[in-house]
């Protein structure tokens, strides 16, 4: 695969044909410029200016790269860049814990999605035969093969995490801890659109696939409704805006899954990008000026400046789509598209109307409601125990005031571009008119209902958000993962050497037992010679000694019984005519007993560290291990052993070395130099041991 990608991979051929006449590219650059100017004003007299503005520019560039990237790897690269810069930007106020948590959440979720996307893109590239988006879009594939479903699932996972569609929308409202320029730029205009933009890129390939269509329609539709309702329950201006963003992205996703919906998707991306970022910047102004972004608190303030009211009103009109703003045309395209899609199904039309009305109320709540009306203010003045007083209004930079106005104006101006296509796609003007009237009517109705009960709604929203969404859906899940990890760590890695050794033994048992079970051809062969009575006695002695060494309380007795095991073995070797081996075993065992006795002399007494159940468990494991090794040895003795060396040695021994004991001849004649080496190593070891013992006696002497 690497060979497929890299030899044709030109690092500087990012865009391919996708840069020509790409409205998204121009849009991203325009918004970037606006945001940087706004941020310049927003961070006036703040040390964060040098942190945020470069990152904003870098983010803008990577987003611009994302919308024009043609090679799938470049696409992925820019995709991840946006995630990283988003992480850094959400954490602008990294001194605050909330900020750090939210940025981590965002990066965790989008990062996981990014990996899935990478895999999806790699598989897409491999199976379509090209890594260039422009070439992939022109091809037709047999989408019934299962691999395409895998690809779609992987890609969609990446997309829904990035765009904050259900069920991964949680990070988007929390990302609102970032300052207003960041929220306006990243979390409404550009970053969260990345997912739907990718959907539109891939729509020509997958649009005939039921999995693609159904999952996008389901998730996007749910998100649209969810966002619209949740926004209604928020008191925080920015969180409410975030939920409306989420809702709108759901709507765009709803349209973008098919090539026919591309126009709708693009016009919505542009229109929504303009008015939503302007709204965020407006909220930023409010926050700076009045030091609050809580709707209820703002309502109790007296001195809302006239300028703010005007901006709020005009942005409200941009949002709801009065004629000759960008969103007017976007909505028009949408209605046309829906009617084509659902073949004049008026249920869809009604649903769409209700949704639009909900959104209208949301925008009203955010952009108009806090700054108008007198009733609550009088109440606050006369009977307030909380004592809301006149706050001095902070002055803000002129750049902050300019940008929302510029965006609102460009929202109107951009209609020249959008309205050009209206004549091509307009099908039924009458419906559109009805739609508008219906939306406004419903809006008025719902608004009065809301106005009456808004305290109740607010309380409900707060509860829902803090208790259920943040704590239950994210925090508790994360804590659950942590708990599982801790539990598993305590089980698997508890720090006791004896436990680790047990685990090694168990793992070896499993591996060996498995391979014996599966691959052993014959089980146990019959003994070649008769078993004699004294052999049996010796074996019984060995077993008894081994058993003794485990149960005895005395350390010396335990060592001595181990020695007895070794001696028994050497006697057995002797029976089977291997005197040299018996000698070696005898020597080693004696040495070990002596050294162990010396070593254990100074150690403290036995202490009881394991309970009875532990002992039984260990005993069982030890028996099984011994059993497995015995079976292994018995089953192996039956297998054919490589005999070439044996035969040559047997042939050579008498003519070349004139000796009858093959082993001795090998040791003392054929391999004499090796033996010399062995002897010198042993001698060195013995000298070393002598040195160690001397140190010990010296110390002992000092003490006495």
């Amino acid at each position: 695969m690497v060979q497929n990608i890299f030899p044709n991979f030109n690092y500087f051929d990012i865009t391919g044909p996708r840069i020509e006449n790409n409205p998204l590219f121009q849009f991203v650059l325009f918004i970037t410029a606006c945001t940087v100017i706004y941020g310049w004003g927003y961070f006036e007299n703040s040390s964060k200016r040098n942190y945020v503005l470069p990152l904003l520019i870098l983010f803008g560039l990577s987003m611009a790269g994302l919308v024009i990237a043609n090679h799938l790897l470049w696409l992925y690269f820019f995709w991840e860049c946006t995630s990283v810069f988003s992480y850094l930007l959400i954490g602008t106020y990294y001194e605050k814990k909330e900020s750090r948590e939210s940025s981590l959440q965002a990066l965790f979720i989008t990062g996981a999605g990014g990996l899935s996307l990478l895999l999806g893109l790699l598989l897409l590239g491999e199976h379509s035969g090209s890594y260039y988006l422009s070439e992939i879009q022109l091809q037709h594939f047999n989408l019934e093969e299962p691999i395409w479903s895998t690809i779609v699932v992987l890609l969609l996972f990446g997309i829904i995490t990035k765009s904050g569609l259900l069920p991964f929308q949680g990070w988007l409202p929390n990302a609102m801890v970032a300052p207003a320029p960041v929220s306006g730029f990243l979390h409404s205009a550009t970053l969260v659109k990345a997912g739907v933009i990718l959907i539109t890129f891939l729509a020509p390939v997958f649009q005939e696939m039921p999995l693609w269509e159904n999952s996008i329609l389901l998730l996007a539709g749910l998100t649209a409704w969810y966002g619209a309702f949740m926004a209604l329950l928020q008191n925080d201006l920015k969180k409410a805006l975030a939920y409306t963003t989420s809702a709108t992205i759901g709507l765009i996703g709803f349209a973008s899954w098919t090539e026919a919906g591309n126009l709708v998707a693009f016009s919505w991306i542009l229109a929504h990008g303009l008015y939503k970022s302007a709204s965020f910047y407006f909220v930023g102004i409010i926050e700076k000026k009045y030091e609050s972004r809580n709707i209820l608190k703002l309502r109790k303030l007296f001195s809302i400046e006239f300028f703010d009211k005007i901006i709020g009103f005009s942005l409200f009109f941009c949002c709801i789509g009065i004629p000759f703003t960008a969103s007017y045309y976007a909505k028009k395209h949408l209605v046309d598209f829906y009617l084509n899609l659902f073949q004049q199904n008026y249920y869809a039309f009604v649903l769409c109307t209700i949704w639009q009305s909900l959104m209208l109320i949301n925008y009203f709540r955010i952009l108009v409601f806090p700054y108008i009306g007198t009733r609550e203010r009088y109440q606050a003045m006369h009977e307030s125990a909380e004592g809301f007083q006149e706050k001095s209004v902070k002055t803000i930079s002129i750049w902050m005031k300019v940008i929302p106005v510029v965006l609102a104006i460009s929202s109107v101006l951009s209609t020249f571009k959008l309205s050009q296509r209206v004549t091509i796609h307009a099908s039924d003007v009458g419906i559109w008119e009805y739609f508008t009237v219906a939306v406004y009517g419903l809006f008025t109705l719902l608004f009065f209902m809301f106005y009456r009960y808004h305290h109740f709604v607010n309380a409900l929203g707060k509860k829902l958000y803090t208790e259920i969404l943040w704590k239950w859906c994210y925090k508790n899940k994360l804590r659950m993962i942590e708990k599982i990890a801790i539990m598993q760590t305590n089980i698997v890695q508890n720090g006791y050497l004896r436990y680790y050794l047990t685990m090694f033994v168990v793992a070896t048992i499993l591996l060996l037992g498995g391979s014996i079970y599966f691959y052993s051809e014959t089980f146990i062969r019959k003994p070649v010679t008769e078993i004699l009575i004294y052999e049996l006695i010796i074996v019984a002695m060995i077993i008894i000694a081994a058993f003794m060494s485990t149960i005895t309380r005395s350390r010396m007795a335990s060592i001595v019984s181990l020695g007895a095991v070794g001696m028994g073995c050497s006697v057995l070797y002797l029976f089977y005519s291997a005197p040299d081996l018996a000698m070696t075993q005898f020597l080693t065992d004696t040495l070990i007993v002596v050294v162990m006795a010396l070593l254990f002399y100074d150690l403290p007494r036995y202490s009881r560290l394991s309970s009875k159940t532990d002992k039984i468990r260990d005993g069982i494991i030890a028996c099984i291990f011994g059993g497995v090794i015995s079976i292994l040895v018995l089953s192996v003795t039956d297998a054919q052993i490589y005999t070439e060396v044996m035969d040559t040695m047997l042939k050579k021994t008498i003519p070349e070395a004139r000796g009858h004991n093959v082993v001795n001849v090998i040791l003392a004649d054929f391999r004499a130099i090796d033996t010399l080496g062995e002897i010198s190593v042993l001698t060195t070891a013995a000298i070393g041991m002598y040195g160690l013992l001397r140190i010990r006696t010296k110390k002992g002497g000092d003490e006495s």
Partner: protein
């Protein structure tokens, strides 16, 4: 000229001889001058020895040889040479970053450096040989040196505990490995892995015994490469060992073990049905459980132990994908991943070694605070390395992971791919935690910069090398894709 001609057959042994002699030289210097000789001179001796070794490694390719002494025992191929090069280079970097640390910890330099060079000799033997006995010898030389090095600070109980645990478990697993070697020899009559492979292809001997031998061999080597369920020694040893040795364990020692596992798998490819599925499961558990356990650690060194375990899982994924699909996949993938991982780790531990206290090797997260004031370069290195470990493009870590992922897809090892993705996602959290802590500027933090050791030329050099390796990697990738000349 005759002398040179006589010398030619031995030329390929030069790298090993140089490394061995370096260790001996340091001990002799110690005998003559005692401890008065500054630590720097020991470090320089070691670095010079390794540089000579590297040079001889690079030069011996172009000489035509009719007869090579001990060809069957030590004959590294081009892939092995690349690995040797990486290992030697990393050891030089570790040496450069170590001497101030040793001064702070009052570790005796001659002992330390001579053991370090012999440990490297063991690791080189593991990489360079295709003879089971030499590989076993390498494992033992490496391990025994490391047992001592791990517990070299005699005043630190944790360090001694770590050394002891490592000794006991390592001893057990060495026995298992040796048992495997003897099984393999008993049923094939050879220690040469090439011959074993030949025998397996022809199926002229009893396969069952070889299978059992393989199980033992794999068990022994997987312990060295700390694969689940043989990873238990890892966190305790990493935490207890001096920081420089932790660095060495997670780079050179790990690379050597991986190389040995790779040779084993290539040899026993025809017995795929015996080891493949257990092995795949082990790797999956290594990656997923490893990252879960790293997630809950409160000590940076323990966390890095698990992180190194997880990265080992990625390496094994790369190795397995290559072994499964030798025709279509290039070895350089593994090389690139290993090189980037090693260089990143060295930079990371280099910074951390300036942060530990004099008497204790523990490194809780809070001890990372204020790093930015202490050393801007160190902070930057940590951030870059952590981002690279997370796998954020275009850093080197991303390139490595990407290459391994695409290889694994090519070899249709989908379970491994999915496990790798899950573990990468989890690993994001704990790497970012480190980034958060090194950036924190908490006024109430009690750790002052006074306990932190001085910054030396070596410190700056290692950091710069590490950063540049990670940042430049994707841009020079093209030239390394066929480095082994396959």
């Amino acid at each position: 000229m005759n002398i040179i001609n006589d010398f030619l057959p031995y030329l390929h042994l030069c790298p090993f001889v140089f490394v061995f002699l370096t260790g001996a030289c340091i001990l002799i210097l110690r005998m003559i001058y005692g401890n008065q000789l500054a630590m720097v001179s020991y470090a320089i001796t070691l670095a010079v020895g390794f540089i000579l070794s590297i040079i001889s490694l690079l030069f011996d390719q172009n000489i035509e040889k009719d007869y090579i002494y001990g060809e069957s025992l030590l004959n590294p191929g081009s892939f092995d040479k690349c690995i040797l090069f990486i290992m030697l280079f990393v050891t030089i970097l570790i040496t450069m970053s170590s001497y101030k640390y040793l001064e702070k910890k009052k570790i005796k330099a001659p002992e330390f450096y001579s053991l370090l060079s012999w440990a490297t000799l063991g690791a080189m033997l593991m990489v360079a040989s295709k003879n089971l006995l030499i590989i076993f010898l390498g494992v033992e030389v490496l391990s025994i040196s490391l047992y001592v090095l791990t517990s070299i600070t005699d005043y630190d109980a944790k360090s001694s505990e770590a050394g002891f645990k490592y000794l006991i478990m390592g001893g057990l697993m060495s026995a298992v490995l040796l048992y495997g070697v003897s099984f393999t020899y008993g049923f094939t009559g050879t220690f040469q892995l090439d011959t074993v492979k030949h025998i397996l292809v022809q199926e002229q001997y009893n396969i069952y015994g070889i299978k059992i031998g393989l199980i033992f061999l794999l068990t022994g080597l997987l312990f060295k490469s700390s694969v689940f369920p043989f990873h238990f020694w890892l966190p305790d040893v990493y935490q207890g060992a001096p920081m420089v040795i932790t660095s060495y364990l997670s780079t050179v020692s790990k690379t050597a073990a991986m190389s040995a596992v790779y040779k084993l798998l290539i040899t026993f490819m025809t017995l795929k049905d015996v080891w493949l599925w257990p092995f795949v499961f082990m790797i999956i558990f290594t990656m997923v459980l490893g990252s879960c356990m790293a997630f809950v650690q409160k000590d940076v060194k323990r966390m890095l132990a698990y992180s190194s375990m997880v990265n080992g899982g990625y390496m094994l994924t790369g190795i397995l994908s290559y072994v499964m699909n030798v025709q279509n996949i290039d070895q350089s993938t593994m090389l690139i991943f290993i090189a980037i991982y090693n260089l990143g780790s060295v930079g990371l531990y280099n910074v951390l070694s300036t942060l530990v206290k004099e008497k204790s090797e523990d490194l809780p997260y809070e001890q990372l605070h204020h790093l930015k004031q202490f050393s801007k370069l160190g902070w930057f290195t940590m951030v870059i390395v952590m981002f690279s470990f997370i796998g954020i493009p275009p850093l080197g870590g991303f390139v490595g992971k990407f290459l391994i992922l695409s290889d694994a897809i090519d070899s249709s090892l989908m379970p491994l791919v999915i496990a790798m993705i899950i573990s990468s996602a989890i690993s994001t959290i704990y790497y970012l935690k480190v980034v958060g802590h090194i950036s924190a500027e908490n006024q109430s933090a009690t750790i002052s910069n006074k306990v932190r050791s001085e910054k030396t030329v070596g410190y700056y050099f290692v950091n710069v090398v590490s950063i540049s390796a990670i940042v430049i990697a994707p841009f020079v990738l093209k030239y390394f894709l066929n480095i082994t000349g396959k």
